[in-house]
Amino acid sequence: MQSFKSKGLIALISALLCVSLAFVFMVNRASAHKVSHDADTLKAFNDAFMEQVILGDELFHGATMEGINMSNTGMACAMCHPFSSDVHPHEYPKFQEQMSEFATLRDMINWCIEKPNEGEIIDPDGEAMKALEAYIYWSNRGSVLDPGRH
């Protein structure tokens, strides 16, 4: 008898939970973020991105930041990669021939800083790396994603 009552209570609670979830789902089904994105919000998102793109553009073209030294030869990334061409961010990750190992774009950026530019590698998760990555991807937007291709 006791067991029957408990089962009934569990069934009742489960039913109420399902109804509640269904209600919540129907009301808020449009947004994973629970708010819609108006034009100002989207602009703010884009501004945050483009700020990094512009910083990356400057670094790519020879500007420097406190605490980093990306070149000791006078060379900047853009001298071999105008418009970020032949960087091929859309082909990473891949086996990188020069490194003889599987590599990400960030790995290759640091390889170029260390080898051709004779600079000092930067924090792979740091501000400069993220900005360089933003600029390189922005410059190559629209390229066909083709990871792994040499």
């Binding site: 483009m50 793109v53 512009i54 553009d57 400057e58 073209h61 030869t73 006078g74 060379m75 853009a78 001298m79 071999c80 990669h81 105008p82 418009f83 970020s84 061409s85 032949d86 091929h88 859309h90 082909e91 021939e97 020069q98 170029c112 080898k115 051709p116 922005w138 410059s139 190559n140 937007r141 629209g142 390229s143 066909v144 083709d146 291709r149 040499h150």
Partner: protein, 370 residues
């Protein structure tokens, strides 16, 4: 060098692009390599032979350009490559009637850089002729360059060929005065290939076009002409000034002559194009190679092999050019690697970019408040 159909691997129209192998740069022809691969101990060089109808006394000359020298204490690597090129030219000096330096001796046009270049050029004792590049010019608007190497344009006749050197860099529309740029800022904007502020700086300009027309006016239409310029005489890729902005007007001037060869630097890569009776041939840099532009590569061009960024002697060098007895221009890229041209898609400097789409840079558009 005689034509050998066993060496021939690419024929388009009247252009005969050949490939030969040399043993330690001797003139002994090695085995033909139809695939373009280096074989055994042979050092593979490249050669393009361009046919023409007129006759001339044969002669050879060397081209070196785009050394992009920094001050000695900043970049020894570019000095090493410049010295290597000049030493090799000098070692073959008996072969050459003269050497042309095709511009961009300096990186930022500083007198220290130009003086360093002048010092290194003393290694070459054969006659030398000079044309400026934009990197030599826009710090002091050519003052240091002209002081060391004289003014451009110039012309002389040599063994039946009218030879002309033009300035395709020093006549840019003024992009600096209205924006209040300092000399260093003007040079900085010019020195970035993909910058937007210097605009369409490459061109001959009306005064020099008139000079060109006048210079050619007494020259027979079937006699060969060689024109040296820093930038190419056609529209390859204007965003990087891989052109002269007045190429159409220049073409009109040159159209009556049947055998015109334009030898140019600036692009840091092998290029070949034809318009009417004029062919344009792109030369290597000694400093570093540029990637091929995302569009506009002439269909007649054989792209060079993708470059290994870990080897700073890869994809660079100088050129050995011969106007042979049949007024054919032979071009031999003296690239410091075993293989010059890419063949398979994965190895080609253009074929590997099929998935790439590029956008111009953005940050310098706002740099002066535009």
């Amino acid at each position: 060098m005689t034509d050998n159909k066993h060496d021939r691997d690419h024929v388009v129209g009247n252009v005969d692009i050949t490939r030969r192998t040399f043993l330690h740069k001797s003139l002994l022809t090695g085995g033909a390599v139809a695939t373009g691969s280096a074989v055994g101990v042979f050092q593979t060089l490249s050669s393009m032979e361009i046919a023409s109808a007129a006759m001339s006394e044969p002669f050879s000359f060397a081209w070196v350009s785009d050394t992009h020298l920094y001050p000695r204490e900043l970049n020894q690597r570019f000095i090493d490559k410049t010295v290597r090129a000049f030493s090799e030219v000098q070692a073959m000096g008996d072969k050459f009637d003269f050497m042309v330096f095709g511009g961009d001796l300096a990186q930022l046009g500083h007198p220290v850089e130009i003086e360093l270049g002048a010092e290194l050029l003393q290694e070459v004792t054969i006659p030398k002729h000079f044309i400026p590049g934009e990197h030599d010019w826009y710090l002091d608007l050519g003052e240091s360059w002209n002081k060391h190497f004289g003014e451009t344009p110039w012309t002389f006749d040599h063994k039946g060929v009218r030879i002309i050197g033009v300035d395709s860099v020093g006549r840019a529309p003024d992009y600096w005065s209205a924006r209040g740029m300092s000399n260093e800022e003007r040079m900085a904007h010019m020195s970035g290939l993909d910058g937007s502020q210097a605009g369409p700086w490459s061109g001959l300009g009306s005064e020099q076009r008139q000079w060109l027309s006048s210079t050619l006016s007494d020259w027979p239409k079937d006699a060969p002409v060689i024109i040296f310029s820093h930038t190419p005489f056609y529209e390859y890729y204007p965003p990087w000034n891989f052109w002269i902005r007045d190429w159409r007007e220049v073409q009109e001037i040159l159209a009556p002559w049947q055998n015109v060869t334009n030898i140019h630097g600036h692009v840091h890569q092998p290029l070949y194009n034809e318009i009417g009776g004029m062919r344009s041939i792109g030369m290597l840099a000694t400093s570093w190679p540029w990637p091929y532009a995302p569009e506009g590569v002439p269909a007649l061009t054989r792209p060079m092999l993708r470059v290994d960024p870990g080897d700073h002697f890869d994809g660079v060098g100088w050129s050995n050019l011969t106007m042979n007895a049949e007024a054919h221009m032979e071009v031999e890229y003296m690239m410091w690697r075993e293989q010059v041209f890419g063949v398979g898609r994965a190895d080609s400097g253009t074929g590997d970019n099929v998935n790439q789409k590029l956008s111009p840079r953005i940050s310098d558009r706002g740099w002066t408040g535009d």
